[in-house]
Symmetry: C2
Subunit: 256 residues, 2 copies
């Protein structure tokens, strides 16, 4: 659709006022805002009054200046809860799969396991099948390590105490080596897994952050060990991190 031809001018002006308040340090007066946006003062005053009626802005009684209102905060909470993680990530996963020519996915924590909620396939026939909706033990896959690396240490300790599956003879199941691995993940900004879930499967993963800076998901790239070799890790990690960062921005995270 053509936005400009159908834009309602007064609504556009009101929205511009909201944005201008978002750019000001704290509060701004009618005179300043009207000068900044090229509006007549009385117009700015009326538009602000209307926004105030709905709680989108508030006015300081003493100074008469306006600031953003609590309704904006409430709306943001609702906006965050409605963001569809899968649809946001798919374009980036597709792009990553094309760039790496491997399978890519988005994983989240679900019932103590790594759940793949989205997947995009590369062009190779020898690859992993559809893993969407399926779980895997956190500690044995790269995306799971990413999620674990942002957990409280006591939660990691608790998981280890309950016992971790020895998926292959390369799976890390002891506390000290696992904590070291998770510290490495935090330091580097990405995780790897070499034959730890399946002997012939390697993977790289990077964290997705939300508006609060919390790690809420992981973007991963995985494939057969003969293609996803240690020599490719720097390239794959870089690409995964870029895709994860792009998804993070879509979730409201501050761009790095």
């Amino acid at each position: 659709m053509t936005l400009d031809g159908n834009a309602v001018r007064s609504v556009d002006r009101a929205a511009a006022l909201l944005l201008a308040l978002g750019e000001s340090s704290g509060e701004a007066g009618v005179t300043e805002l009207s000068r900044r946006l090229g509006l007549h003062k009385s117009t700015a005053s009326r538009l602000l009054a209307t926004l105030q009626k709905r709680g989108l802005v508030e006015q300081d009684e003493e100074s008469g200046k306006y600031r953003l209102g609590l309704v904006v905060i409430r709306l943001a909470e609702r906006a965050e809860s409605t963001l569809d993680l899968r649809s946001i990530a798919m374009p980036e996963l597709d792009r990553l799969a094309r760039a790496t020519r491997e399978t890519t996915g988005l994983g989240v924590l679900h019932e103590g396991r790594l759940m793949t909620v989205a997947q995009a396939d590369g062009p190779n026939l020898v690859a992993v099948g559809d893993w969407t909706g399926r779980g895997a033990p956190l500690h044995s896959v790269a995306a799971g390590k990413v999620l674990m690396s942002s957990m409280a240490e006591r939660d990691v300790v608790r998981l280890v105490r309950r016992g971790l599956d020895q998926c292959t003879d390369r799976t890390i199941t002891q506390l000290e080596p696992l904590l070291e691995e998770l510290a490495r993940v935090r330091r580097r900004g990405f995780a790897t897994a070499f034959g730890e879930f399946d002997p012939s499967l390697n993977a790289v993963a990077a964290p997705v952050h939300d508006a609060r800076g919390q790690v809420v998901a992981a973007v991963d790239v995985w494939g057969p060990a003969y293609r996803v070799t240690p020599g490719r890790i720097p390239e794959l990690a870089q690409a995964a991190r870029e895709a994860a960062a792009a998804v993070s921005v879509r979730l409201g995270a501050t761009p790095a």
Copy 2:
């Protein structure tokens, strides 16, 4: 000012659309929104298009439905950073001081210590002097315990390892009793301190939450031990919790 007489109708309608999207589960279509607000469909479509131009709403390409946009999240971040904690809390502290007839304060974490940023005095001459802008060791005052109780355990462990001041012979400085005390604070929803900072000073404190549910400050009531007796704790704790909850709502927290 009289809001209604000066409200700009189209802006009011656009704001109502934002609020309606905040109330919907995820996304809503033009037809549904227009029916809900009693607007003609074409009007709703144009107002939404205008809000979309400014990023306040987004449209799903496939379904054509609208949802709140990322600019709302960005605005909320700015709204939160502009809220003045002190001015928000003062009315509640004044009210609490009148109700309890003791000194009340608002404390925040500052450089690893409890900093009092606001204070309201009760009517008694024998009381604490102005503590605004001054710090105290976290673990020895009730408000500090509230803040510590929301910290990651590893951060508490780190503080204990560095050594805590033994302010009085009642100050808790060992890890196990301190962790138990902090668990008690979390369970009860308030903290106490009996002669732990000064032998003749007792206090109660309750947590202030922000829009994300994080503990960002503590409301406390303090006074001489001969007035702030154990028998008064239930009453003081209740009053402090109510004041803290009121401040929390002002910071955008969801009312309990």
